[in-house]
């Protein structure tokens, strides 16, 4: 079983070039090269082998060619779903472990998932938290019981049933899933992205709640939040008292939790 392909792939060049030479390829002390990837609405998505310590801006604007016509960058998710979001005005950060950590983010997998202004931040969070809720092992209470609740609350906000107290509830749940509170790092990681998203995009959350709808849906469902309801078109919320069973396995929803159930 191979644990980390990328690390193992570095072994050959290290041996060939020698440790010193390989390390000198990097731009910072950490040395070496990495595969940096970009996904999202960039002109050129892909993965490039670049020296460690490449600034994020260079990765996005030079290698990936910047954002596509008509899309503005809002934030970047650097290391996979468990890392805090980097706001668009902070993408000068150097992409290596130490610098990212000092700046309050995390390098993680060394990718840049570009969040543009067509992406509903609430839907993004719902998608992420739903993933973590599905992956929860079921050992410690805050994770197995708290994550599904957060999925329900986020789905409510996304589908227009949000209430002001939901944001407080989310903040509280995130506190319950702190590192000391859980047995492993899954739940705390789930809250990292959500925490920065709530901070960066609080206004978006509040707008969903005030307007009682997701304003991004006019541009078409992108984030997969709509898949919870089986791809219903925007605006067709459930009527009060209408009982619908939870999303089935094929939809990847969370059985036992019917986020589209109106309360």
């Amino acid at each position: 079983m191979i644990n980390n392909v990328e690390s193992l792939c570095c072994v050959a060049p290290i041996v060939r070039l020698g440790a010193e030479r390989w390390r000198s390829l990097g731009l910072t002390d950490e040395g070496g090269t990495r595969m940096y990837g970009v996904s999202g609405r960039a002109r050129r998505t892909g993965a490039w082998e670049l020296p460690v310590g490449t600034p994020m801006r260079e990765l996005i604007e030079r290698h990936a060619g910047g954002m596509r016509e008509g899309f503005a960058l809002r934030a970047v998710m650097p290391g996979g779903a468990s890392t805090p979001l980097v706001p668009a005005d902070a993408i000068d950060v150097i992409m290596d472990f130490d610098h990212m950590k000092q700046a309050g983010y995390g390098l993680g997998t060394g990718t840049a998932l570009l969040i543009d202004d067509s992406v509903c931040p609430v839907g993004l969070c719902l998608n992420l938290v739903r993933f973590f809720a599905q992956e929860s092992c079921g050992w410690c209470t805050p994770c197995w019981a708290g994550l599904p609740w957060m999925v329900g609350v986020l789905a409510d906000i996304e589908e227009g049933r949000g209430r002001p107290e939901h944001l407080d509830l989310l903040a509280e749940q995130m506190w319950f899933m702190g590192e000391q509170m859980c047995f492993c790092d899954l739940a705390p990681s789930a809250t990292k992205a959500l925490g920065t998203a709530l901070k960066l995009f609080r206004g978006e959350f509040e707008r969903h709640i005030e307007e009682g709808r997701c304003s991004y849906r006019e541009r078409g469902p992108i984030t997969g939040a709509g898949s919870a309801a089986g791809g219903r078109p925007a605006g067709s919320g459930t009527a009060t008292g209408d009982r619908r069973p939870g999303p089935g396995p094929a939809a990847g929803g969370l059985p036992g939790l019917a986020p589209d159930r109106v309360r």
Binding site: A133, Q134, E135, S136, C137, G138, W139, C140, T141, P142, W144, A145, G146, L147, P148, W149, G152, L169, E172, F176, G178, Q180, M181, C182, F183, G246, L254, P255, G256, L257, A258, P259, R261, R263
Partner: protein, 926 residues
């Protein structure tokens, strides 16, 4: 190990740094909530309920830690009521309640539910979760345990107990996230003999007592008493609960020296016999019912005339000496009942009521234990062992709780690896991981495979004589001087096995030997004692502890009391030397061949039987007096450890049922005997016992005397919330009746009395303010897992002599087992459900007992042409020749030439085993 100074809630404490903070806080009386931690199973850190705030040295910030996984360090400050910790603990409850069903009114756990208690303790009240609850389908787990998975809070206690501690294989966790499911793969009775502990281990109502559900009562409505389980010689402590004059359920009663936190399923679920149709509730004389007093008068007159030689009428002609009455005691009757009978009839006319073979073995067992130097081990002694060897006992069936205790020991015994890795004793996951890699320290030698084999380092199977030879070979290997002649003729395979066993034994510093009388082999019993003598032990004994399993609750007590053989009583009767016979609590048809018993009962004159259930013996008796059952009578029972324990009932039996010794006292009074006239309370009987038998005098100390008072009050059997008092009998009479008077114990049959913690022997309920579930036991112990305040109940009657006695006789090895060409040796097979008399009167237990069968090795089965399940006619050459036709079971581990027959089953005649067995060819070909 160090004592460190910490503060808890601002109060300084010196604590043991080997323990965890949760254990420490609970032991000191602080209320910290928890779910997944269990005092007997350690910590795993799953539920997150036990969070407290920990401050290091001068730090003002603090961090939330799980107290169950945190060791104390010097200078730590623990804040239980820190606002963040309070908020977090309330949040955990809120999260657990998100999917918890709205079931409390219909849930059997309500009123003793740990989740209810913790919810109140954390202060969570308002439900904000607005989504649907996840649900599950349930399975039928058999007649003992219910299954209601909606209520699960995923604390993993059931899984850990059943799989890690009880070694069960048919239970697992399925699913993940908020849908983890604990149960079997499909419907079916739980296989483990300890599945009933799930009822107490589960903090919510997922696993509850199915037998209790049939007549459900809330915990606050139960009248309870501290009883001793009557179904085997281990003497586990239990709490019997009754309501409306019926026994409702049995729970575990903690005794750190006997059963700890757990019970076996037989002890927990076999209580229905007390309520069953087999109960004798009125005196029976043939088919007509006399009143109790009429009967006693009549019987007393008979007795008086039978004892006539003891009185000489003044001026009358001297009477011809009449044969004196015969008294037959019982190993399931209390020490007081047996003693009363012995006093009544005289030492030489008191017969122990044991099967002949058993009498020999138990007599020898008691002699060995009394002679020493091996002491009998308490549970704590077993837990401290570094090696356990079991000889000739299928513990799972003969002393089930010893099986569980050995399994627990196997998992928790400290090892060098764990020391080296610094794994704390309470770190359950850590211990589990390390133990997987470590070699076992359990060694077994038995006639066939048992459930413990799977955790043993090695097992040796052989016929009983071969087991004795094997054991003596071990003795010779350990101490060549111990035997005159080591057993010769062991084959090479066996010799290598002996070498392996011996190597392990040599390396052990605190070995424990477990053997007993269940195999029916005297040589094996002697050899086990010799092995214990040859092994090292703590001073002053200097020899390894020796546990000898005996079958019934008071077998050891009866033998300590002493008496003649049952066969001698038969001889006397047949010789015409008996006019009146008194039998207490014994079905003689289980002790001797039917023909002999019937002949005896015909020849023994007036047979008066005092028993609480109808048996074949009561059916043949001239008169039956209704005795109180084990749940209704106060009595002292001596366990196989030699521990005298007082069983105090939960129920007062309705007249005319009364304890056996009171019947004997009444008969003595009616017969105008000088004996028993002053036996007004149980203490009077015990006082006389102490006078007549100073060696048994400590038995009187097993519980406080009946006149003990606590701040001038008795200990109530009913909790303060006991309800329905003015309505429960209102259909019979609207006028309130006075509660029955208990003259034999310092406990009352009411809710009035001393409300604080009673002495350990009188604890009948675990309940404390804020703790309504069985977890309240924490409040009754000096420290978690430790003895009850004032010491665990029970008094040991057998200690090895202070000065070493004369060297014991050296056992000689029996000849090697060589089966005759056409005969097999039938050995007894014991069944936890089936072999014991009283438990089989309980329908849920009876349903799990096997039908009689014959077990053969595969080779023997092939030789005799038997097929699995097909009936095989056999002829048993025991005390009587018995023709039996039994379905065959092929047991791979049985040695060649050895057959197994289950003993004690209800529709079976008395089997005098071990005995020779031949396949009945004539019947086969007919």
């Amino acid at each position: 190990m160090a004592t460190v100074a910490i503060t808890i809630e601002g109060v300084p404490h010196e604590v043991d740094d080997r323990r965890n903070l949760l254990d420490i806080c609970l032991s000191l009386g602080y209320d910290v909530p928890y779910f997944c931690w269990h005092p007997a199973m350690g910590s795993i850190g799953a539920c997150r309920q036990c969070a407290v705030k920990l401050f290091w040295d001068d730090d003002q910030q603090g961090e939330i830690v799980m107290s169950c996984l945190t060791r104390p360090r010097a200078g730590n400050r623990v804040a239980i009521s820190d606002p963040e910790a309070l908020r977090f603990r309330a949040a955990v409850i809120e999260l657990l309640m998100t999917s918890h069903p709205h079931d409390c009114p219909v849930c059997d756990e309500g009123g003793e539910c740990h989740l209810q208690d913790m919810t109140v303790m954390t202060g969570h009240v308002y439900r904000r979760y607005a989504f649907d609850k996840r649900t599950f389908e349930n399975y039928d787990l058999g007649p003992f345990v219910t299954h209601e998975m909606n209520r699960c809070i995923q604390c993993y206690r059931c899984l850990r107990f059943y799989v890690d501690y009880a070694g069960g294989h048919d239970f697992a966790a399925f699913g993940l996230r908020n849908e983890v499911y604990f149960g079997r793969l499909r419907d079916g009775a739980l296989d483990s003999e300890f599945s009933g502990n799930l009822v107490e281990v589960c903090p919510v109502g997922v696993f509850d007592d199915k037998t209790f559900a049939a007549h459900y009562t809330r915990k606050w409505d139960l009248q309870t008493g501290p009883t001793v389980c009557p179904f085997c010689g281990r003497g586990c402590n239990t709490i019997a609960g009754a309501r409306y004059g019926e026994l409702r359920r049995v729970l575990n009663r903690f005794n750190g020296d006997v059963n700890g936190y757990f019970l076996c399923d037989r002890g927990r679920f076999a209580y229905e016999s007390v309520n069953g149709p087999e109960r004798v509730r009125r005196p029976l004389v043939g088919l007509s019912g006399l009143s109790a007093s009429e009967l006693v008068r009549g019987l007393g007159a008979r007795l008086e005339s039978a004892l006539g030689e003891r009185r000489v009428a003044v001026g009358a002609r001297p009477r011809v000496a009449r044969p004196r009455p015969v008294g037959i005691g019982s190993p399931r009757a209390s020490l007081e009942a047996n003693f009363a009978l012995k006093r009544l009839v005289g030492d030489d006319r008191f017969f122990l009521g044991l099967a002949d073979g058993e009498h020999t073995l138990v007599e020898r067992a008691v002699a060995l234990l009394r002679a020493g130097p091996s002491p009998t081990p308490s549970l704590r002694d077993i837990e401290a062992a570094d090696l356990v060897i079991v000889l000739g006992e299928d513990l799972t069936n003969t002393a089930p709780m010893l099986d569980l205790s050995v399994r627990r020991w196997a998992r928790l015994r400290p090892t060098a690896d764990e020391e080296r890795l610094g794994i704390a004793r309470w770190n359950d996951a850590g211990i589990g991981m390390v133990k997987k890699e470590e070699p076992s320290a359990l060694w077994i030698a038995a006639t066939q495979a048992g459930k413990l084999d799977e955790i043993a380092a090695e097992t040796f199977h052989g016929a009983p004589d071969d087991l004795a030879r094997f054991t003596l070979a071990l003795v010779a290997a350990l101490d060549p001087k111990a035997l005159r002649r080591p057993p010769k003729g062991l084959n090479a395979g066996a010799a290598r096995t002996v070498a392996r066993f011996a190597a392990a034994l040599r390396a052990a510093e605190r070995p424990v030997v477990i053997s007993g009388v269940s195999s029916g082999s005297l040589p094996l019993l002697e050899a086990s004692a010799a092995l214990a003598r040859a092994l090292p032990g703590a001073p002053p004994a200097g020899a390894a502890p020796l546990a000898l399993v005996v079958p019934e609750v008071n077998t050891l007590g009866l033998m300590l009391l002493g008496g003649e053989r049952l066969s001698e009583a038969f001889r006397l009767a047949v010789a015409g030397d008996v006019e009146v016979t008194l039998v207490i609590e014994n079905d003689l048809y289980r002790r001797a061949p039917a023909a002999q018993v019937t002949a005896f009962l015909r020849a023994c004159g007036t047979a008066i039987v005092v028993d609480h259930v109808t048996t074949a013996t009561t059916a043949a008796a001239a008169a039956v007096l209704p005795a109180a059952s084990w749940a209704e009578t106060t009595g002292t029972f001596v366990s196989h450890e030699g521990r005298a324990q007082r069983s105090i009932p939960a129920l007062a039996p309705p007249r005319p049922v009364q304890p056996t010794w009171r019947w004997l006292s009444a008969l003595a009074a009616a017969a105008r005997l000088p004996v028993g006239q002053d036996w007004l309370t149980l203490d009077d009987v015990l006082d006389e016992l102490a006078r007549e038998r100073p060696d048994l005098a400590p038995a009187a100390l097993a519980a406080p005397p009946a006149d003990a008072r606590f701040v001038a009050m008795k200990i109530p059997r009913q909790p303060t919330r006991y309800s329905g008092r003015t309505a429960m009998h209102a259909d019979v009479s609207v006028f309130d009746a006075a509660p029955p008077d208990d003259r034999d114990t310092p406990m009352s049959f009411s809710m009035e009395g001393y409300r604080e913690q009673p002495p350990a022997a009188l604890i009948a309920r675990y309940q404390a303010p804020r703790w309504n579930s069985v977890q309240a036991l924490n409040k009754f112990q000096e420290e978690i897992g430790g003895p009850l305040r004032g010491g665990d109940p029970g008094v040991r009657l057998i200690e090895p002599p202070a000065a070493p006695g004369p060297p014991p006789p050296v056992p000689t090895a029996p000849p090697a087992f060589r089966p005759a060409s056409d005969r097999l040796l039938a050995v007894p097979l014991h069944h936890i459900y089936g072999s014991e008399e009283l438990s089989m009167l309980s329908p849920p237990v009876a349903g799990r007992a096997p039908e009689p069968y014959l077990a053969l090795s595969p080779g023997d089965a092939a030789r005799w042409g038997g097929r699995e399940g097909a009936p095989l006619p056999v002829l048993l050459h025991g005390a009587e020749k018995l023709h039996l036709s039994l379905p065959l079971r092929i047991v791979a581990s049985l040695p060649e030439g050895v057959a197994g027959l289950p003993v004690g089953l209800p529709r079976q005649p008395f089997l005098d085993l071990p005995a020779e067995l031949e396949i009945d060819h004539e019947s086969r070909h007919v």
